[in-house]
């Protein structure tokens, strides 16, 4: 089964190359894109099953044993996140095809989308620090070109900011690689885990903090997030949806991976919990201040990241279980919300709250799609966000971390507040002029995402059991290290 690991990355790459070769034959591009992305989803599911039954699946690319070669690893954690991500990539591709049907966004959309898919898969599966850099760059270059295409004068500045900030982050990543290799002589994560414990603990800890910062920029942690809400809202809906759903979560994934594998420690981390709380609060305040659907949702990306870091900050099985469940839930819900935001823009021509209204009466289906996602985001039962938040709150109470629990609940209320702001201004009120009509394709794609989020609710128990097994695995780095260095 280990052949699935490189294939999950390389098949979309091959498809990307082929879409470039077939040129302007749109139908062929679509078939290739759908095949590539769906293959990754299938591979992810197979890997998840395999990793859950028999422990981490490892592939040494090129046949060179770690730590010389690049190792790809699918343990439960990476397989879960990859599965959810790939599912969203498939759904959003369907949405994009539906939306861009007549007026193709640009000729190379599918190639870029496939490279984004490959980049996400590589970043999630790789067991190598430098390969992670490459995976990030693939993800980023695809995101740059998806974000910048067809930008007008008003958006060009925000996309420029996005690219520049990410280049600064990439430079910092290179500094991290230089320091890490300089101090340890390896870039293989499993090998690093051992070597970092042998060097001066001060250096090791410093590298851990540098990693937190470097990946924190990608994840949108406080106070490194400001670029995100300025740039995400400018892209077309499917592009923003996939950015919002996946990119920051890849950052969170890498933070959790590196902090648990490379810098294992006992007991809750006050630093992480502080960062978590600050991220939640600042993000939600930003959301409240906004007056545009996509901007509100973008700030909520930040705020929600705080919850995932909160779970990590507990550094316990239950805390990480909650974090993993939260990531799963959030990827789906956030993607869905941005897709609904896209529906609003299609219907009303804008997402600016003072110009929308009455959509509940004109297109009730959009309201029906919005409501469960919005309530889930705010952590209202019985939706998936509630289950994930309950898991966090229970662990916070059990550990006696009252402050972060109180903050997380208060932020939940403010989230509800900003969701009612969207509801009130967009779905209620005097109907705004109709600008268009969302087609059945985009509605169906959105409905699939909503259904997925409801499935997370219904199957919360098996999911939480799976997450708990993944969390246990994360807190025992020896499993990962043995899988990479010992076997394969």
């Amino acid at each position: 089964m280990s052949w699935l690991l490189p294939s999950a990355i390389a098949v979309p790459l091959l498809a990307a190359g082929l879409t470039v070769l077939v040129g302007r034959r749109l139908a062929a591009q679509r078939v290739l894109a759908a095949t590539g992305v769906t293959f990754t989803l299938g591979a992810a599911i197979a890997l998840l099953v395999q990793a859950d039954r028999g422990g981490p699946v490892v592939a040494q690319v090129g046949g060179w044993a770690a730590p010389a070669g690049i190792t790809l690893v699918a343990d439960r954690f990476s397989a879960i996140v990859l599965t959810v991500s790939a599912a969203m990539l498939v759904a959003v591709l369907a949405y994009a095809v539906g939306q861009l049907g007549r007026d193709a966004l640009d000729w190379w959309f599918h190639a870029k989308y496939l490279v984004l898919t490959a980049g996400v898969a590589m970043s999630l599966l790789t067991g190598d620090l430098f390969n992670l850099f490459v995976g990030f760059e693939m993800m980023l270059i695809a995101s740059y070109v998806l974000l910048t295409v067809r930008t007008g004068p008003s958006q060009v500045r925000s996309t420029v900011s996005y690219v520049v900030i990410n280049l600064v982050a990439s430079a910092l990543f290179l500094v991290l690689i230089a320091f890490t290799y300089g101090a340890t002589g390896t870039v293989n994560l499993a090998d690093l885990a051992g070597r970092l414990s042998e060097i001066d603990p001060a250096v090791s800890e410093g590298l851990g903090l540098l990693m937190l910062v470097v990946f924190g920029i990608k994840a949108g942690l406080f106070p490194l997030f400001m670029w995100l809400p300025d740039s995400y809202p400018t892209a077309p809906a499917p592009v923003t949806a996939i950015f919002a759903g996946l990119l920051t979560k890849v950052g969170v994934f890498v933070i959790i991976r590196t902090q648990t594998l490379l810098f294992p420690s006992e007991g809750p981390s006050t630093l992480l919990l502080f960062v978590a709380g600050a991220t939640m609060v600042v993000g939600v305040l930003g959301a409240i201040a906004q007056n545009d659907v996509k901007r509100i949702l973008s700030f909520h990306i930040i705020s929600q990241i705080g919850y995932m870091i909160m779970g990590l900050g507990f550094l316990s099985v239950a805390g990480l279980t909650a974090a993993i469940l939260y990531i799963t839930h959030h990827i789906v819900v956030k993607t869905g919300l941005f897709l609904v935001g896209g529906l609003v823009e299609t219907e009303q021509g804008t997402g600016a709250l003072h110009r929308t209204g009455g959509l509940l009466h004109r297109r009730p289906i959009v309201a029906v799609l919005f409501l469960p996602l919005a309530l889930s985001l705010a952590g209202i039962p019985p939706f998936s966000g509630f289950v994930a938040k309950l898991a966090l709150v229970q662990e916070g109470v059990a550990l006696g971390r009252g402050v972060i629990v109180a903050v997380s609940l208060a932020v939940g209320l403010l989230t509800l507040f900003s969701m009612t702001k969207i509801w009130s201004a967009t779905f209620w009120g005097e109907p705004a002029e109709s600008a268009g009509r969302a087609g059945s394709g985009v509605l169906a794609a959105t409905a699939v995402v909503v259904a997925t989020s409801l499935a997370v609710t219904v199957f919360a128990q098996p999911l939480i059991e799976l997450s708990a097994r993944a969390a246990t695995e994360l807190l025992d780095p020896a499993i990962y290290i043995t899988a990479v260095l010992g076997g394969g």
């Binding site: 190639a111 870029k112 101090a183 410093g206 201040a289 039962p381 289950v387 609940l409």
Partner: protein, 765 residues
Amino acid sequence: MFLVLIIHAALALAVVATRSRLGRSAFALGALGPLSLLVWLTTKSRSIVDGIAHRESIEWVPSLDLVLDLRVDAYALVFLYVIAVAGICIFLYAARYFGSDPKVGTFAGTMVLFGGAMVGLVAADHLLAMFLFWELTTITSYLLIGYSDHQESARSAALHAALVTGGGGLALLAGMVMIGTEAGTFTISEILANPPSQSAAMGVAWALVLIGAVTKSAQFPFHGWLPGAMAAPTPASAYLHSATMVKAGIFLVGRVAPAALVAAAWWQPTVLSIGFVTMVIGGWQALRQNDLKLLLAYGTVSQLGFLFLLVGSGEAKLLYGGLALLVAHALFKATLFMVVGTIDHEAGTRDLRRLSGLRTSLPAVFWVAVVAAASMAAIPLTFGFVAKEAAFDGLVKSGVGLIALASFTSILTVAYTGRFLIGAFGGHHPGHEPATPVGPAPRNSLVWAPVVLAAVAAVIGLVPGLVAPTFDAAVEAASGAAKAGKLVVWPGLVPALGWSMVSLVIGATLVWQNALVQRATDVVGTVSRRLPSADGAFRRGVAGLLSFADRSSGLIQSGSLPRYIAIILLVAVIVPATALFRSGISGGSLPVGGLLEAILGLLIVGAAATLLFTTRRFAAVLLLGGVGYGVAGLFAVFGGPDLSLTQLLVETLVVALFALVLRRMPAVFTPARFERTMRIVVAVAVAGFVFLGGLVAFSARQAAPVSDRYVEMAVPEAQGANVVNVILVDFRGFDTLGEITVLAIATLGVSGLVLPILRTRRDSP
């Protein structure tokens, strides 16, 4: 029981799905929800009253102790009957109340959903399950209040209710999780059987639970949302905001009081104080209203205060009267809301200053109102009287202070009841038309639905023995005390009767001397308007929150790219530095470097330093190229010919591309505007971090690098002598695969960015 919940959910879906065909008859279909509940209750109530609680359970997320335990005992039974009976009447009423607005179907479906949530809330024997239904009532209430969504007032009232009760809900959740964690179970009956003992944490937990109950049941200081919720259509006001949802908090405090008393000594005095303040404020405000619906709403606030202290006190004898009064209140208040709705429907207004002569034009409505109002004012031979006597009987036994305060608010109750009746149905108001014109007298459910409710109340008032066993069982189920009180038509000459009669007489006098009362309320009103009101506090709170959000995001989210980068770099430098430099910097043993290195280094630094002051773009590009060539030289010195070659070629291409782009731009840079000091500080910090961090990190190496294996394996295993190239295409070929992908996509991106715009410029010069 789950069947009833499923019926509600399915009905809600069915109603919404068929809304365009059903019109307002959607409510008739929706009435099947509470009807199914009533059927269920009638089949089960005998055994439940006998003390055998009905249990059902569905495991949802057992890992989180999230189990949907339902347990219907006699205490819950009382509430369920209210939900069922009031529900059926109100749904049928609503089927004639609304017009042909297409929104009606969605409204009806939401109301059914609410009904189901309410059933679940009362039946839940699990804290988290109860919370689930609790929040569901909040959300459905939000949607129902906002029915007239084209009106800003309705939208903001909906928000007010959602935020206050939603916020209370989250406090409740926190409290519940704390209690559940401490008790080791979330099952309510188990917690009650074995409550956590007193501790600071449990004190906080029970306070949080109390906050939840206080917000939901519109207790002071959170009562402001309830009058606002009158923006909802009258059927919703009658169902949610008088009969059912606002009783949820009371249900909760009554349910948990025995356990709360164990852990929190302050519980009882706090509950009593909150209840009393709410009673007085609500009663007083009711006296000042001109809108009949608002008058009833404030009356509800007042009554809820009374119920809160009776039910939540944890005293069985108070609970007994409280439960009876709760049912009586649901019956008469829902009736009166429907009366107001009918008046509004027929006369086109509910302003009591504009209404007159309805006694003759709507006689049936008038008589229903009289019966219900009598119950509200606790005139003998009504259910209201029977219930209040039971309550007063308990209060008398608890002390003279309590009964005196209760009697005082009873006076207010009588007074606003009078104001309501006279205002709605009274005759000739000086200066007004003698009678308000009304439509043809209604004969449908607009009349008979309230009649049914009023009749139920009247029958109970005359024959309380019909329901007394249920109340006995309910109080015993909730508090463990048997025979804590009694329901009788005539209590005999007991002290409680004396207090009631006195308040009735004084109240009647106030009704008689209406003008005097109005003057008094005007005077006090002008004073009290200056005091902070609950509603005003909420409005200011929301505006303040929005402003705070704007200010704080304005501060953090400055929108300035240089500032963002400065923050990121400073964090990236400072945070790791706290650990990295802890064990000191020792780079003394490191080699300084050779002469060639020094020369190349000087060239590079010189070119870079010149770049700082260059204002011409082309010069800057050439200098950048110079730096690149210098770095290529250093690479060569370090033994990297491939690297050096690649760097030279890439640098050449970069300069060429720069030249291609910059030829279209002005020759000179625009001057920098970002603070110079800040730029210097950040630049020095970054440079210092790189230098010192490099020293520390590079001296930390303990083990041989993995690349030794590459050198070993390159020729024998990978068949290549150029180790760097072997790494690129073989050992780490996967990196290279990713890398060329980046190049390909970047190229496609450049074409997409530049070509269209050049084409447009050519087409339209």
